[in-house]
């Protein structure tokens, strides 16, 4: 806990970081005051992270909803810049993230690869942020004097439950396509991945995302997924690694307000895929009279 002091003076105590969640641009503890232990794979205690309550989730929904229209109306160009900025920030803190990932059990090589992939993934979706609209939008042939076109629109507020296998990448691969599509997001990280997620909060908070666009929670999956699925102000739910029971329950609850529900395998396949953006955008078609 202590190291030899500077200039031979008395030993000083380490100043350890309290990992806090990110809700509405603020770093907060759980309103419930609860915390969870995080242990290294060998069982060594690493520290505490927050255990988000259902109320924390609802607060995050309020923050995300408040930010939704502003972010949806931000130009695609600026969204791209901000996502790229997040990549820059993560690059600048790459060594910290490598250490964090190693502390929760990744090998040095695996940690290095995962951080690099996370940065590249942010750049990848930064690139798509001002291009997917052209690819997924269309001008449609119709046999009447109308100009008919389809454009994408963000769905609104998306809840995302990240897996634990790739503590950083599972989270980044979920967030990036959601926000690139103009949605705001509330994520849940569990277990050892929570440490990497809360560390990522500091990167995202300094990347020019408006407050509330990205909200990061950590806690227990079984406590919060049900709330995410039923909440009427959430427009889509994406999860990684849901078991059959959870996905059946979520699918049923999501029907309440016709949320989109995508349970994804946590195998890391398809991280780089523009169709991921399509998962949380809607296609709106307009008929516009032409000629006279």
């Amino acid at each position: 806990m202590s190291g030899s002091g500077v200039n031979g003076k008395s030993d000083r105590l380490d100043v350890r970081k309290t990992y806090k969640m990110l809700i509405g641009g603020a770093f907060v503890r759980s309103e419930s005051g609860r915390a969870l232990d995080v242990n290294a794979p060998g069982g060594r205690w690493l520290g505490h992270v927050c255990r988000a309550s259902r109320k924390d989730f609802r607060n995050a929904v309020v923050a995300a909803r408040k930010a939704a229209s502003g972010w949806a109306n931000t130009t695609p160009y600026l969204k791209a810049q901000i996502l790229y900025r997040a990549a820059e920030m993560l690059e600048g803190r790459a060594s910290t993230f490598r250490e964090v990932l190693q502390s929760i059990g990744l090998s040095p090589a695996a940690a290095k690869t995962e951080v690099a992939q996370a940065i590249d993934l942010l750049v990848y979706y930064a690139g798509w942020a001002d291009k997917y609209l052209q690819v997924f939008g269309s001008v449609n042939p119709v046999s009447s004097p109308y100009f008919n076109f389809s454009v994408t629109e963000p769905m609104g507020v998306v809840a995302y439950v990240a897996g634990e296998k790739r503590p950083l990448l599972d989270l980044v691969s979920g967030i990036a396509p959601i926000v690139a599509g103009g949605n705001t997001v509330i994520t849940l990280s569990t277990g050892r991945a929570a440490v990497a997620a809360m560390e990522l909060g500091e990167v995202l908070a300094t990347s020019d995302f408006p407050h509330g666009v990205i909200n990061l929670l950590c806690g227990l999956r079984e406590e919060l997924v049900g709330q995410m699925a039923t909440h009427m102000d959430v427009n889509a739910l994406i999860t990684q690694g849901a078991d059959a029971k959870e996905s059946a329950a979520s699918r049923e609850a999501c029907a309440l307000n016709l949320k989109r529900y995508f349970p994804r395998e946590a195998n890391g396949k398809g991280d780089e895929d523009p169709y991921r953006i399509l998962d949380t955008v809607e296609i709106k078609t307009t008929w516009h009279p032409v000629g006279g």
Partner: protein, 305 residues
Amino acid sequence: MSSSLAVSTKLNLQAHPVDEVGIRERVARLATRSIKKASKVEGLKLALSMVDLTTLEGADTPGKVRQLCTKAIHLHSGRKDLPMVAAVCVYPTMVRIAREALQGTPIQVAAVATAFPSGMNPLAVKLEDTRYAVAEGAHEIDMVISRGDFLRGDYGRVANEIEQVKEACGKAHLKVILETGELGTLDRVRLASDIAMQSGADFIKTSTGKIQPAATPEVVLVMLQAISDFYRKTGKKIGMKPAGGIANAKAALNLLIMVREVLGPAWLTPFLFRIGASKLPNDMLMQLEKERTGVYQGLDYFSND
């Protein structure tokens, strides 16, 4: 008509210094009360029945006012167990439209008058404003005090103005808006409350909704205490109307708690307590729907008027 300079002889102003720290502590303690489940449902229904549903925009149109009136009658489709709101609050030129739209319902029509929201017009104009609103059919008049006169120390003029507006109201109920956000201190809030009550106010009201801060819990508590003292002295029950900045259901329930604690259950009626709001009812409806369905709600599913 008496001269506007005549100082009211009835005015009996005693200093009631307000303990700001004490008020803040009491507010904080009352805010920790937790009202859940069935009590919450009853509390929210009561609060809804006390709402003065308000639209006071330069952009108000007859269509918008009619839409608001429809909301006042039918707060949420598919629910038969909800009360109607107490009143609809509009500008004088919209009174007739609101009266027509609310015909056959017990919902009152309140009009803001006396050069709302600033009050910066001559008394004659304010009185004419009031008479016009009453003639159009307003049941209630929400007047503003002249904050400039008050802050100058010309309490007599403020009192006199309220008396004359009260006279112009005839049978209509008079609510006196103190615009506490412009008064600065709780001491002045207390003084303005005393002046308004002694000059004939049926209700005292915190704010126009155009100035921030508006109905803070501190200000509401001070005004409730003033009402309580006035009742003890005179036996007259004056109503209270917080308005402006009451954002959510929890804040509304906290108001009910304060009224219950300071004035007692006799004041928990729309005849003596109102909440001025435009967006607040939807949050209360969301909470009520949550209690009914067990699921947290989104504004997409509530009418946006």
